[in-house]
Symmetry: C2
Subunit: 299 residues, 2 copies
């Protein structure tokens, strides 16, 4: 447990340090402009807003699991976090979920205005690719393969398809299969590609890649189920958002479809499945523990 | 002139064919979903909306000028057109320029709704990188260099900085230097990077790259000045948008700062500068003629 926490803290510290650097003025030396400063401020605001950094941690830890140099994969880790953050900014916009708060702070459009929030999201999406592609410590082939997988996972058939389906599900009692398919795209694809990029950076085998995907598919789904459970049973302060917001929006969730107890049982089952996918590899303790932590979390 | 038109038509036909393919269901075989179809429809609608394809033509023609295989650069050409198209979709949104019409047809958000237009823009931006990175006819190093330049040009210090400055300029009498700086980012960066990507695909020298940038900086600025002139003197039917929209918005333009005659003179001077930058190279006739056509255009 102590080991787990210290590794997690070290990973998150490295990720946060690099993220801050990528959106600092110094990273854009020679490319300054009035418009840039306004953007960097909005990008930094959302990037530093207390996320759990699960996706970038998965990049580093799957790279490490398969004997890669995790530190050299930090650019890829930051890239996926930028994509995740842009998607939250755009999801919160009035034309999408219309959420004024994000992790206990005003949403980007509340803080910076609608147009700047839109553009800050666009800029983070674009910077994700600049970040992954500009890391000269990675071979050209690694950069292409990793950024390509990221683009596919984030694109029209991946995360964005999930956002479209999520909007379609709102205000109707969607079936469990619709919810599962939506979550698989909307949150599952970025979680999966995090492990995939870590594997690419490490030069992992197809067999290793396949086990990594199995792990991520299970924790991705479990993560979403726990989210739905916390929306019913959680603590407003710990979550940083109101409780019952799904029910208020008449949104179908795992809890509304399966009930609370069955949802908890299913999340636990998926957690065991995730652990089984990686436990055969040496040094998998961190990822095994991470699955347990994500399932047992309170925010 | 006949040669120019036939080359241009062949380039545009190739670009249009490939663009249609990239947003077709068949390109996403094995990745189908309900959300994907809705996105592809919206992406295709805006991509096929009668653009002049100046940016992708510049990719192909600078590749050809420096003895590269222009056909192999078509993925890069399509990538920059996708970025251009996404920026138009987001620019037209109510929170930005709030334009209901684009090239004589309803804007994306009028046709598909606000959320879908936002997401279709995001999806095109993402697909641009997928397209550039997935072309196995290009070396890994070419793909990395070209996509990285594209990300920088489209990002927070490039096109997006220009969009931020453009919003700041609205409703105030901006100085000519502000307008020039805004245009250099908002439209100039994508025009410049089109030539840069063509040069990268051709393996051009630094000297050739520098001349290509000189050409693009001049035509980029001339193009914007002609846009402002046409907003005063143009024909509504040919332009596909109302005349006088800049004045209605109290927007500073080259015409409002310099007057009509001085604006025309300046555009002509920049056109000569562009032609001079490339006319020393063998087979530069197309690019010389293109500069003249862009300056003398009526839409």
């Amino acid at each position: 447990m102590t080991d787990f926490k210290s590794i997690l803290n070290a990973d998150v510290a490295l990720i946060n340090e690099k993220l801050a650097l990528y959106v600092s003025e110094s990273s854009f030396a020679g490319r300054e402009s009035e418009g840039l400063s306004a953007m960097l401020e909005a990008m930094e605001y959302s990037l530093s807003n207390g996320g759990k950094r699960i996706r970038p941690v998965l990049v580093l830890e799957f790279c490490r699991l398969f004997s890669g140099d995790a530190v050299s994969a930090v650019s890829l880790a930051c890239a996926v976090e930028m994509i995740h953050t842009y998607s939250l900014i755009h999801d919160d916009l009035p034309c999408m979920d219309d959420d004024d708060m994000r992790r206990g702070k005003p949403s980007s459009h509340v803080k910076f205005g609608y147009a700047n929030a839109l553009l800050a999201g666009d800029a983070l999406l674009t910077l994700a690719f600049e970040t992954a592609l500009s890391d000269s410590s990675l071979d050209f082939s690694v950069r292409v393969k990793a950024a390509l997988e990221l683009a596919k996972a984030a694109g029209a058939s991946g995360m964005i398809a999930g956002q479209v389906m999520d909007l379609a599900n709102e205000g109707r009692q969607a079936a469990l299969t619709d919810i599962a398919e939506t979550d698989k795209r909307k949150t599952g694809e970025l979680i999966r590609v995090s492990a995939v990029m870590g594997c690419i950076a490490a030069g992992a085998s197809d067999e290793q890649l396949s086990k990594a995907c199995e792990y991520c598919e299970a924790i991705g789904l479990a993560f979403q189920i726990v989210d739905d459970i916390l929306d019913v049973t959680g603590d407003k302060e710990e979550l940083g958002k109101p409780i019952g917001s799904d029910a208020d929006k008449n949104k179908s969730t795992y809890v509304s479809c399966l009930g609370l107890e069955e949802s908890k049982r299913y999340a636990a089952e998926l957690t065991e499945k995730a652990k089984a996918a990686v436990s055969g590899f040496e040094n998998s303790q961190f990822l095994v523990q991470l699955a347990d932590e994500l399932c047992g979390r309170s925010n």
